[in-house]
């Protein structure tokens, strides 16, 4: 970055480049949680001297260093202290203990469009908003052209912004924030701006900014982004650093943790649902000892079929159950993030409780909006699956995993040959895909361009 903040000491520029730009040292932050918080004077008077609050630690002894031109991703579950961390980096809040040192001008993409007045034109609002980021009039004039061009607003720029669509509004706001030319850029879940094209544009712009030496800190739930964009990651758990270091490995271990947690919660949910069914089953198994075994099991069958709740996340007779699904990369190692274009195996483990003539295993990739991207089963592929052992696994192999970067969920099922569901998971687990391709959409299409 050619522009250093005028507030800096002159010797800063001469300093070696390996001094960290962001230095967070043993930061601690506690909030007072009031049992009955009163803002009004009456409440203050009534509760005078009574400290009816509890200190809740949001951050406890977190440290990190970020070098110039590096990007750090801060991840963690809701309420782990990510946003507080970012607010302290922005200097909106101050740590109770420890220190935070940041060199240079800070710009934050936390609140977009701050200070926008609906009745003023886009151009006038650029001046207001940019000045809130601490730019002088001269600096704003220098950046005006870039901002206007990036926002793609063109002729609408001189209309009052109350006439803008929300997409235009966000585009304008984002264009200003990203053109501030800060030394440190802080981002909080903002990349849901505009359409897919604009998002791609934002990302390539962020990459350019990073390449020029701007240090970036991102708080996001979009793990794919963090993994591909960031160099480092900080995983906060309950106010403490659960892991800190290389982005890929931190995100990977976080994802593993989250998946295990998600599966555990699903299992717990199923356990709770199954308890009455299990009792019923226990009762029938007693009946099975009676001479009319054949009849009993038939009636059990009947009743089970009518019991299937097709709207549940998991349903089926349970004659064959899916015990586990794992994604594996070429060397057989279990992975939680798929990589586009890489050879990948999906292993669906099963256990047979009651054998049938033949089975049909199926899988599908879905977007979080429940759009099926691809789905297939063994029957559609013309296979007849007969299981001979009590437990095993079915492998779905792909030479080139075709999904592009994003968040998806995996569906899998085993039916009997007549289409009766034995074990059907609508949403078995969520996963992310990382990709180095700049293409947009969900699926990689093998292609070449030829010009004639």
């Amino acid at each position: 970055m050619s522009k250093m903040n005028e507030g800096n000491k002159p010797e800063l520029a001469a300093q070696s480049s390996n001094a960290p730009v962001i230095q967070v040292c043993n930061v601690e932050k506690k909030f007072r949680v009031y049992y009955d918080k009163g803002y009004s004077l009456k409440d203050k008077l009534v509760q005078w001297g009574r400290n009816r609050y509890q200190n809740r630690y949001v951050l406890r002894g977190v440290s990190m260093d970020v070098q110039r031109g590096e990007a750090i991703g801060i991840i963690g579950e809701n309420g782990c202290g990510k946003s507080t961390m970012l607010k302290m980096l922005t200097r909106i809040m101050y740590p109770d203990a420890g220190s935070i040192q940041i060199k240079g001008r800070i710009s934050s993409l936390i609140e977009l469009g701050a200070g926008f007045h609906p009745d003023l034109s886009g151009r006038e609002n650029i001046y207001t908003n940019a000045s809130i980021f601490g730019l002088t009039r001269k600096e704003i004039n220098e950046r005006m052209e870039d901002i206007v061009e990036f926002s793609e607003l063109g002729e609408y720029l001189d209309n009052p912004i109350r006439t803008y669509s929300s997409g235009m509004y966000m585009r304008l706001a984002f264009s200003i924030a990203i053109n501030v030319d800060a030394d440190v850029l802080l981002i909080d879940e903002i990349l849901a701006v505009g359409d897919a094209n604009f998002q791609t544009k934002c990302f390539s712009r962020l990459r350019d900014i990073k390449a020029t030496g701007t240090t970036i800190a991102i708080v996001s739930h979009d793990l794919g982004t963090i993994q591909t964009f960031c160099d480092k990651a900080l995983w906060l758990s309950d106010g403490k650093a659960a892991a800190y270091g290389n982005a890929k490995s931190v995100v990977e271990s976080y994802r593993q943790y989250m998946n295990e947690k998600y599966i555990a919660s699903l299992r717990a949910h199923e356990e709770a649902e199954r308890t009455p069914a299990a009792k019923a089953k226990a009762a029938t198994s007693e009946e099975e000892q009676s001479p009319s075994t054949q009849n009993a099991s038939a009636s059990e069958m009947e009743s089970s079929i009518t019991e299937i709740d097709y709207n549940a996340n998991r349903f089926g007779l349970g004659d064959v159950v899916i015990t586990r699904v794992t994604f594996r990369q070429a060397d057989g190692q279990i992975i939680h993030t798929l990589v586009e274009g890489e050879p990948t195996d999906i292993d669906i483990s099963y256990a047979v409780h009651k054998s049938r003539y033949a089975y049909n295993f199926g899988m599908g990739f879905y977007t979080p909006e429940n759009v099926c991207l691809y789905g297939v089963n063994t029957q559609l592929d013309g296979m007849e699956v007969k299981l001979t052992q009590d437990a095993g696994f079915v492998r779905f192999h792909m030479d080139h995993m075709p999904l592009l970067a994003g968040h998806y969920y995996f569906q899998c099922a085993v039916n009997d040959i007549n289409g009766v569901p034995l074990d059907y998971y609508r949403r078995y687990m969520d996963f992310d895909v990382s990709s180095s391709r700049a293409a947009i959409g969900c699926i990689q299409v093998d292609h070449q361009w030829e010009i004639f």
């Binding site: 909106i92 809040m93 101050y94 934050s108 009745d119 207001t128 000045s131």
Partner: protein
Amino acid sequence: MVDTDNDRRIKLLKGQSVDSNKRYWHTLIGYNYRVKNLRRVNERMKTMQAIYRYREMIFSLVRRELRGRYKASFLGFLWTFVNPFLQLLVYTLVFSVIMRSGIEKYYLFLFVALIPWIFFSSSVSVGATCIVNQSSMVTKIYFPREVLPISFVTSQFVSMLLSFVVVLLVVLLSGLGLVWTLLPMLIPIMLLEYCLALGITLIVSALTVYFRDLEYITGIVVMAWQFMTPVMYSVDMVPENLRGIFMLNPMTSIIRAYRDILYYQQMPEMNTLLLSVGMAIGFLLLGILVFGKLEKRFAEEL
């Protein structure tokens, strides 16, 4: 081996050499409490620099306040002039037809004092909420928090200046005429009022974040303050024995100065003005200190 003497010394230094038996008693020179105060002064100096760097934000917030206010209306910015003019019309009608007053050209007597008073009262009473109302900005973006009260008071100040165009025009046309040599005196008076209003607004706006009731209390106090200030009457009407206390009100001599220059067309009295200057500077310094102390936890309280 435990060196108890060293232990005691370390404890002493850690506590900035405060004697554990006597509070505020520093036994070692150079480690006393004043170091902390010096650091605080340094911090304030840095804030001043930061405010200067954010000057464009102050300008654009003032511009937004002024331009945005009437933007959607038909007359637009013209309202800035039409509004005081219509106010004057109402006062003239009421006080020269219905409530006849013994003071000659009472509408002018009132108008000349009312415009400066409105600047002061709206700065303080509306300005009390200038931080609470911008909570989305305060909790999301960094900027020197002082910018908000400064730009609010400044916008009120600029709209007073614009109203003064109408005031001067009316004084000129009313037959009283203007004494051109006295007019430059208005500038220091206005700056004095600005400093006083800013100092009080800094204090009130920061405190309102912590006690929300202050918004309403300020409204009442400012209304009472108006009756304690010779806006609608002259100082001569105040009983002789109370006049001493009356002059302690810093706004009294400021309002009187405006009236002296524009209505009585004489040099304002300097002795009482000096007291106001002292109080304005006092309030401004106090405001900066109180604000600096309270602003750190704004984001948590909002």
